[in-house]
């Protein structure tokens, strides 16, 4: 599904035989150019970021699932397209979705006629992942469990509630933020079946093409079942092409083709100057790829900081024309969006209609209003016709408004003298089958937009003065990394650490999952940070207050009973998380019962007690994934397995048991899991309602658990019990309040956007890194540290061009009743009472803090608050315009 | 002058008969009080009422009245041209109104029907209306109409005055309009002029005996406007006022109105609504400035207008007919009788 079409030069008749040429004729945008040939360009650049992505695993070679032969066995990527409204079935879930592959083939056509709405769909997990028998992909692809759950839920939404969805899996791996809840909801609320097994084989009923599967269930019984469709949850692979280019670039790969990195420089390849990000780094989902992206930018930028701003150009600003007091002269531009709108709506009629509307001086239809040439034409029209308000009827303002506003600015108009109405998403797309009504509605929408635009006023954006120093709260790995990057790129940075030394929880760790010694690297990082001239470290210091807004924060800090103030422009919250102190499994009643971090400490100091142990047990999910703490702590499976391997290596004869619920060694950590099993570590599964029981009988320590294979209780006598305890957030409500940032139910910070804004907050100028966001291992904490720095840098780089939005609330003091609703209700503290002047006591809005959400406007009973750009008279005129008939 | 005796047994029949020519209005009970309303088919005026909550002024001067209309539809030839709203001015008769309300109409007339300007809406309605009054045999304890130039059997403003004589009405026909109405009803039992007038006089004297409430207006005229305007009692009078418009809305003599344009779809109407000097909007300028910005200024304006400016301008006494409605309706019991007496007896302290 490329968003743009391209010509395949091997097949194109025009290029091969100089015939046809139809595409050039029919393309309304004149985008076809047969003369284009391959060009070689040499670019000199300071750094390279290599982000080649992945290819979905091709299951054709799997004979047991018969993907290549059975039409109703499809891949998850294919299913993703089926669910999509813009996909081949327009979101309709149906069998034989891929048919007819060839409309001329009779067999395909016949099969396509057999299409029906499926009643039962199965997902097979780990296709092309965690598998060395059928393919050579021993790693976990990290994302398939999540997308399978999502696809099952959406499929039910599309197909209706009685669709039976079953997911066949080995371990359900949902270790990301809010993922476990989604998984629980899939089970409880959406009724998705989760069946823990590996399906042996699939056969097809040759008549109906229904699919029969056979598997062994939890109780060892063989089960035969029939499904209408099977979705193969295919894993992520690094393509041969990527591997080849990597070799050319001279960067080291792991045995699976992923880039080899160090946990402490997780986006840096083995070759100097080449940084990597995304799945190429390790199988990962979108938010982690997004973090990688920013982290790689930070790493690449760090290396080039002295050359910053040498090659970038700045845009020339055009003097704004004063239109205040002028009669509105509206230009209306109707976009065809190719056939997207014009295919349904009679755009010509809409354009003609627009010309008849009050104040409309000019109306024009264009094929693609957003195209470069349409934009420059628009500038000409504005100047030529002396237009002072612009209405654009096209697609969604969410994506295109800034573009059009820039065009306004380029022609000297204030960018708020503009109104956009969506005749595509809200109209042509939804009224596809009713072109007449769609045209009518387009006219209505244009009329309303014109009515509003006529009352548009130029709005002023306030300049924000940015103090370019940064405060990083928390001196752990994430905080130090963030500070280091910001300092390297030239910004004065303060680290506020409440303990007496930098390093945070990392001091308690022994090794990373990749085997690096944590303490050596940590001490090196601390030294680097302490020696950096741009970083001021404040240990034993706490933040007592924070006032202000982006670019202008002010805090009181307290250090050893001394208070001092700090002014800064940017804050990074990297306050981390801590280990849960267990209240079960006899913890605290026997010194042999310890936590994962206790065991790390023993390794670190090479505790002699370790030599006396012959049996060790780990219990997983202590305090995690249970009703009172419903999230997965992400790191504990890998951590325990790593420690189990360490024990086995020290004493191969030692009996090591890991009692777990799902093993969640995502990505290449799966290799550790495999290694542990090879070394003889015994894994026993338990259910949350049947937790292992720990008893201390005299000198002996016993753990009773029901073996999931034998389905019988077993009792293990052990010399040491390690509890893999949850990671719990600090739930720092005070801090959250200072910066007006939200906490989720568990107490983790809520980022700006779960997918696209994982290292920043909705509050402008405040960024996020480390386990305060969600539990994470060393490399991920460092990645997020870098990512937060990169995000902060984009803001700091705009230092001189940072403006508020023009769409903000303002107060009419004569109408203000001083009741304070606005002050109370604003989440950003923008309204306040004037403390001096003629309107002392009345509310006023700080334009820099206001986000234009309109909460105060809607709440003001006295009608004193107005939202600029959406003033009441504008909305009224729109409503009245709606009531008029064409 | 002509007197007619109407047997109450014939009353309903006569009224019914008049409907051929007249639309009828009269007192009707609604919730806890009486209102002068249009009498629908088969509805009779409830002549046993004591007093109506609202006065009769709305028959000539409705609270909301369409005065001009136009269309904004440019397809119509006469779009945007204001035309007088179509109103029914066919003959109508209001039955059973109290004499003080009739007197009030005469006061209101001073405003709407002058040599300089005749308000067409009010004048046309006035022209079309016949007022059939009902003398008040037993005025209530808060009626002070005798000291305002009106009284329980005052004839001013009426076309017919009825006296309730238990089993019959004695009608005093005062004008041609009145005569026409009586004729339309078919009431033709002529009573003796002298006897009848004597009866009216007795009834009036009896009724006036009941009037215990009085105001003094004798010295109002001789005081200067500024003197009363600057009197110290206004703040105290105004303190409890909540600036609602109740007093002005129930008042039979308050005539102020506000004009509004309302547009619904393509139809535009210019309406006039009762206004009230109690509202801050009453004098608010387009600039936002308000010369009567405080409550005290507004309260003072109301009383000065009624009891001083009107008095001075028209020389027709005060702009109050003593019905007592404002006294009873005021949520905070501001009493025009007290205020009038305060103004009348106020002597500037040197």
């Amino acid at each position: 599904m490329p968003l743009k079409y391209a010509i395949n030069p091997d097949i194109c008749l025009k290029l091969t035989k100089d015939k046809c040429g139809t595409c050039e004729e029919v393309c309304p945008a004149n985008a076809i150019d047969y003369t284009q040939t391959e060009e070689h360009i040499t670019i000199n650049a300071g750094s390279i970021i290599y982000s080649p992505g992945f290819t979905p695993f091709d299951p054709s070679k799997f004979d047991n699932y018969q993907y290549a032969n059975f039409p109703n066995v499809i891949t998850s990527m294919e299913f993703e397209r089926i669910l999509s409204a813009t996909g081949p079935t327009m979101g309709h879930v149906t069998t034989f979705p891929k048919l007819p592959l060839n409309p001329k083939k009779k067999k395909d056509k016949l099969l396509a006629q057999k299409r029906k709405d499926p009643k039962k769909i199965a997902w097979f997990q780990c296709v092309g992942s965690r598998d060395i028998n059928k393919c050579d992909n021993p790693y976990c692809s990290s994302v398939c469990c999540m997308y399978a759950v999502k696809e099952a839920i959406i499929a039910k939404e599309h197909a209706g509630g009685d669709l039976d969805c079953s997911i066949f899996y080995m371990d359900m791996r949902t270790p990301g933020k809010e993922f476990e809840k989604y998984y629980e909801n899939a089970k409880d609320k959406h009724g998705i079946n989760f069946i823990r097994t590996k399906v042996h084989s699939v056969t097809e009923n040759p008549e109906t093409h229904d699919l029969n599967i056979r598997y062994v269930d939890d109780f060892g019984q063989i089960v035969d079942d029939t499904y209408d469709m099977i979705v193969l949850s295919v894993g992520l692979e690094i393509s041969e092409e990527t591997k080849a280019l990597s070799e050319k670039l001279g960067i080291d790969l792991t045995s699976n083709g992923f880039c080899k990195t160090n946990s402490f420089e997780p986006v840096t390849s083995s070759r100097d100057g080449i940084y990597i990000s995304g799945v190429f780094n390790n199988p990962k989902d979108i938010p982690d790829s997004v973090l990688d992206a920013s982290a790689a930018a930070s790493a690449a930028g760090d290396a080039l900081s002295s050359a910053r701003d040498t090659l970038t150009k700045s845009v020339e600003k055009i003097e704004e024309i004063n239109v205040v007091g002028e009669r509105p002269r509206i230009g209306a531009f109707i976009c065809d969006c190719g056939s997207n709108i014009k295919g349904v709506v009679d755009c010509e009629a809409v354009t003609e209609y627009a010309k008849t509307l009050p104040y409309v001086e000019f109306a024009d239809e264009s094929m693609y209003a957003c195209s470069q040439d349409a934009q420059s034409k628009m500038v000409d029209f504005i100047k030529e016709k002396n237009l002072n308000r612009i209405v654009i009827a096209a697609c969604t303002p969410k994506t295109h408004e800034p573009l059009f506003q820039e065009t306004l600015a380029n022609s000297g108009l204030n960018k708020y003298l503009f109104e956009m109405t969506n005749i595509r998403n809200h109209n042509s797309w939804v009224h596809k089958n009713n072109p007449d009504i769609a045209t009518q509605k387009a006219k209505d929408l244009v009329r309303m937009a014109v009515a509003k635009a006529a009352l548009a006023e130029p709005l002023k954006e306030e300049k924000i003065n940015v103090n370019d120093s940064v405060v990083v709260v928390g001196g752990g790995l994430a905080g130090m990394t963030s500070a280091k990057s910001l300092a390297t790129q030239g910004y004065s940075t303060h680290i506020i650490e409440k303990n007496n030394q930098l390093g945070g929880e990392a001091h308690k760790l022994y090794k990373t999952a990749q085997g690096e010694d944590v303490q050596t690297q940590l001490n090196e990082l601390i030294k680097e940070v302490e020696n950096n001239d741009n970083i001021t470290v404040h240990c034993n210091t706490t933040l007592e207050s924070a006032d202000g807004f982006v670019g202008n924060f002010k805090s009181t800090l307290k250090s050893d009973d001394k208070e001092f103030e700090l002014e800064y422009g940017i804050a990074v919250l990297a306050t981390g998380a801590k280990a849960f102190v267990p209240d079960e499994y006899e913890y605290g009643n026997d010194e042999r019962i310890i936590t994962s971090l206790d065991l790390d400490k023993m390794f670190k100091v090479n505790d002699t007690k370790l030599d006396t142990i012959n049996s060790a047990v780990f219990i997983q999910c202590v305090g995690s994934r249970q009703p009172d703490r419903p999230y997965c702590s992400r790191v504990c499976c890998t951590h325990s397995i790593d420690n189990a391997i360490e024990l086995k290596k020290r004493n191969p004869k030692m009996n090591v048991f890991i009692i777990y619920r799902d093993i969640r060694t995502y990505g290449e950590s799966e290799l550790l899991y495999k290694e542990a099993r090879n070394l003889g570590v015994i894994f026993i599964r338990y259910e949350v309602d049947k937790k292992p029981e720990v008893t201390i009988k005299g000198k002996n320590l016993f753990i009773k658990v029901t073996d999931h294979v034998l389905n019988m209780p077993v009792e293990i006598k052990t010399d040491m019990l390690t509890l893999a305890t949850a990671i719990v957030p600090r739930k720092d409500e005070k801090l959250a309040n200072f910066f007006k940032v939200p906490l989720n139910d568990e107490g983790f910070f809520i980022e700006k956007h779960a997918k696209l804004g994982p290292a920043e907050f909705a509050t402008s100028g405040v960024f996020l890194a480390g386990s305060g966001h969600y539990p994470k291992p060393v490399n991920e904490a460092i990645t997020q540290g870098r990512a937060s720095a990169s995000r902060a840098l984009t803001l700091l780089a705009k230092k001189d061009s940072l403006f508020t939005s023009g769409i903000i609330a303002n107060v009419d003091p004569l109408k203000c009743s001083e009741c304070g609703v606005c002050v109370s209700i604003c989440p950003y503290s923008a309204p306040m009472f004037a403390t001096e002047g003629r309107f002392e006591g009345k509310a006023e809005v700080n334009p820099v803090l206001c986000k234009g959400c309109g909460l105060c406007v809607a709440s003001c009973r006295s009608g004193a608050l107005h939202l600029r750009g959406f003033d009441t008279n504008q909305i009224f005129s729109q409503i009245f315009a709606l009531g008029e008939v064409v | 002058m002509k007197f007619i005796t109407i047997d109450k047994k014939d009353w309903a029949k006569g009224i019914e008969k008049s409907r051929k020519t007249y639309q009828l209005f009269g007192p009707v009970k609604d919730k806890n009080g009486f209102f002068i309303k249009s009498l629908g088919k088969d509805m009779l005026p409830d002549m046993d009422y004591h007093d109506s909550v609202m006065s009769v002024k709305s028959v000539l001067f409705p609270q909301t009245e369409n005065i001009l209309t136009t269309t904004l539809d440019e397809a119509q030839e006469d779009h945007h041209i204001m035309k007088r709203a179509v109103t029914d001015y066919s003959p109508r008769a209001v039955l059973g109104i109290r004499p003080y309300d009739a007197k009030a109409i005469e006061l209101v007339k001073l405003n709407f029907d002058t040599d300089d300007y005749k308000d067409p809406y009010w004048c046309d309605a006035y022209e079309a209306t016949t007022f059939v009054g009902l003398g008040l045999n037993k005025p209530g304890p808060f009626d002070f109409s005798s000291s305002t130039g009106s009284g329980p059997f005052n004839e001013e403003g009426l076309d017919v005055l009825l006296a309730d004589l238990d089993d019959k009405y004695l009608a005093k026909v005062l004008t041609d309009k009145g005569e026409a109405f009586i004729k339309a009803c078919g009431f033709d039992l002529i009573a003796d002029d002298k006897e009848s007038q004597a009866l009216f006089d007795i009834l009036r004297k009896e009724a006036e005996k009941n009037i215990v409430s009085k105001i003094s207006t004798d010295k109002l005229k001789e005081k200067t406007i500024l003197e009363i305007h600057e009197a110290p009692f206004w703040d105290d009078i105004a303190f409890s006022c909540i600036n609602c418009g109740t007093c002005t809305f129930v008042c039979p003599t308050c005539w102020c109105f506000d004009i509004q344009d309302e547009t619904k779809r393509k139809a535009s109407t210019r309406i006039r609504n009762w206004d009230t000097c109690m509202s801050p909007l009453f004098t608010k300028h387009a600039t936002g400035h308000n010369p009567r910005d405080t409550k005290t200024q507004r309260v003072r304006q109301r009383f000065m207008h009624k009891l001083k400016y009107f008095f001075d301008k028209y020389d027709q006494g005060i702009m109050c007919v003593g019905c007592g409605r404002c006294v009873k309706s005021c949520p905070v019991n501001i009493d025009i009788r007290e205020v009038c007496n305060m103004m009348n007896s106020y002597e500037k302290q040197e």
Partner: protein
Amino acid sequence: MNKQLIGSVVVIGGGISGMLSALDLANSGYYVYLVEKGPSIGGVMAQLDKTFPTNDCAM
């Protein structure tokens, strides 16, 4: 040593990760070349319907 650094970066791959790297760098003062072998940028994410766990539209 002390070779003059070049203030530009080549980003190879126009998927979500490559695009965001490019944006961050461009917005913080570096010239960026974004190289993509396909005819459009967007990568695999552009092919997804909704995203986990918020069910936001991937487009």
